[in-house]
Amino acid sequence: MSHDVGGQLVPGRIPRGQHPFMPWEMRVDALMWVLTDPSRPGGPQMTVDELRYGIESLAPEDYRRLGYYEKWLLSMIEILARHGVVDAAALERRAHEIALERAHAHP
């Protein structure tokens, strides 16, 4: 599978660029921790293992192309949609609205 990369012959040097950590990425990391926290009343919404499996199940081209936190966010949404905790269609609509609002606010 595309995530099991140990020992693959990857040409070229290890990329050394560092992107600045964006607040939304910090929030994705925070969401992961909150949702997987075993000490939550009622237990965690998901486990890190479920999250990893979700990422491993991405199409190979998406796995390679998407950023680290983008993959985590997609995996979290997939799991909670499957559990009926979030409504994927409503989420898509709301995300689209927010993106439009932001585009109008920052043309």
Binding site: L9, G67, L74, A90, R102
Partner: protein, 194 residues
């Protein structure tokens, strides 16, 4: 996937997701913000304190190598459920940490991992040609030093306890901690190196 992975605004997606979770009372906005701030405050300086303490206190070092999380808590650093394993460099052993399957990293102690640590190139090559990887980072080891690579495939999170640099005999613990970099605690650099 329920959500299209194509080119999109992930920042908007995160906001919509978080709003929905708050509206459904799965979590609160405050929890997310507090946790994000806590994570942002974690830096390699915490790990450097641990390393320097181990250099100055052999009994602490013994406890650190036996149970990393318990020893770190002695210094007042709360690491939650982190299962920390500290691996010590020796005169003829140099340790290197990687997670080939994803990017596991002791975030509660060292903060967020660098992008290169999460790259497919590092994850693929560190277990196969560690010396060439180290050379790219400017670290050439003598032939009689063994490289020991650790692939964090399970719940353990690994951190390197580097050797104390020569010439630091007259420095105090805080001065020594200032020499310890994140890269030295991953194993791609030596402490005190630029």
């Amino acid at each position: 996937m329920s959500i299209e992975a194509g080119h999109r605004d992930f920042e908007a997606l995160e906001q919509a997701f978080r709003e929905m979770l708050v509206a459904r009372e799965v979590l609160t906005e405050r929890e997310v913000v507090e946790r994000a701030e806590l994570l942002y405050a974690r830096t390699p300086a915490l790990g450097a304190r641990v390393v320097a303490r181990a250099w100055f206190d052999p009994n602490f070092k013994t406890r650190l190598l036996a149970d990393g999380s318990a020893a770190v808590r002695e210094l007042g650093i709360e690491v939650g459920t982190l299962k920390l394993v500290v691996v010590a460099d020796e005169e003829r052993v140099h340790n290197l940490i990687v997670c080939t399957l994803c990017s596991c990293y002791p975030r509660m102690l060292l903060g967020l991992p660098p992008d290169w640590y999460k790259s497919v190139a590092y994850r693929a090559r560190a277990v196969r040609e560690p010396r060439r990887v180290l050379a790219e980072f400017g670290l050439i080891l003598p032939d009689d030093v063994a490289v020991r690579v650790h692939d964090s495939t399970a719940d353990m999170r690994y951190m390197v306890l580097p050797l104390r640099p020569a010439g630091t005999e007259n420095r105090n613990e805080a001065e020594c901690a200032a020499l310890v970099t994140r890269d030295a605690m991953i194993g791609v650099a030596l402490p005190g190196a630029p």
